[in-house]
Subunit: 222 residues, 2 copies
């Protein structure tokens, strides 16, 4: 029933436009009563994004179950991938919805609030993992925002291409930048400063992110 309503709504939005479609139109198309609609969706906007609630629940469950042994940044990147897989599982619908959302300001606003909920969920996880660290709460919010921005950058490239190619590869490439900069920061404990040292040589004019890559691989090299 929920899926039937969402599908009827979406088809009507594409045919007539979002604004000109009423809830009455949707229930007539789906062949059910008006109350049924509001039993499943609080608003017309919600029917455009029928999977976000379950996706958010899946993300929350995934984060709750993640081992504290894992790098916290790796965990939130994997959490973000759950959203990506939802989009990638239905390319045609995702691409059509992307186009529709760009045309309807109300849907864009709705989407922003959904994205914000994912970001808060990821930030909440990082905050817990880093609660004993100085600036842990600040870093949690900055890293969560970075993960969401990178994820959306990769997702948007894939949607703009019309859903061609490998969505996960596009998003993984974008997330790699965040992991490169923040991943190690989260994992490395302070340790005994005299224990072991890394000596690194870099060209003076090297871009910082390349230097970071080198340092990172040196620190990892056990």
């Amino acid at each position: 029933m929920r899926e039937v309503l969402a599908e009827a709504a979406f088809q009507l939005y594409l045919e007539r436009g979002f604004e000109r479609t009423t809830v009455d139109d949707i229930v007539a198309r789906a062949g059910v009563g008006r109350r049924s609609f509001f039993r499943y969706f609080p608003s017309k906007e919600d029917a455009v994004f029928p999977d976000h609630e379950s996706c958010l629940a899946e993300m929350t469950a995934f984060l709750d179950a993640a081992s504290d042994e894992r790098d916290a940044v790796d965990v939130v990147c994997d959490g973000a991938r759950i959203v990506l897989r939802m989009y990638a599982s239905n390319p045609e619908f995702s691409v059509q919805r992307y186009r529709l959302t760009r045309e309807v300001p109300g849907l864009r606003t709705y989407e922003l609030s959904v994205v914000r909920r994912y970001e808060r969920t990821l930030a909440g996880y990082l905050r817990r993992r880093w609660e004993s660290e100085p600036d842990g709460a600040l870093r949690a919010e900055v890293v969560a925002a970075s993960v969401v921005a990178a994820h959306n950058n990769g997702l948007r490239s894939w949607l703009r291409s019309g859903g061609e190619g490998d969505a996960e590869m596009a998003v993984d490439a974008a997330l790699a930048l965040v992991r490169q900069v923040w991943g190690q920061a989260a994992r490395q404990p302070a340790g005994d400063p005299n224990e072991e040292v890394v000596v690194m040589v870099a060209p003076k004019g090297a871009p910082m992110w390349r230097v970071i890559q080198q340092v990172e691989s040196a620190l990892r090299d056990d």
Copy 2:
């Protein structure tokens, strides 16, 4: 007139609640006709954030005028500070609005779309600065999101404290984290790899961000 309307609207929102205040109530309190309201504000929500449009215009003008000689990350951090100064210039109003916004979902959504416009403006500037660099567009979005997240973290601490203390100091402390991680990355040109080298020694267990700080100061040390 615009300010009179915004003030009347805000007072009524505080007295009666946002939802229960009508545009008729607002114009009656301000002593003007109904049309005047819509001449200045497209919606009830807009009257709660009367300064964002001019603030966004100021940010855009600031970015347009910024020298390309400056570190792009420093420039966007300064751009974000324009927003902060708008809040800090009127602490009482900002704190009351923060409390109101937290209670009214429609205002929170509105605020999200405002924040998103700032983020897009900052990302647009960075994209232009980094257009010739690999992953420039991706980094532009990730850094803009980081700047906004750090700015909002500092701003929120200040608002939660009831507007006590130095708002700029709170935000600068938060932005320092972003500059530390991304600032140098933006500025260093690739250069001749044989020209000059930096040798850095770091304890193996050091947290990545501390190593970055050390590398950064070494690279800067001319």
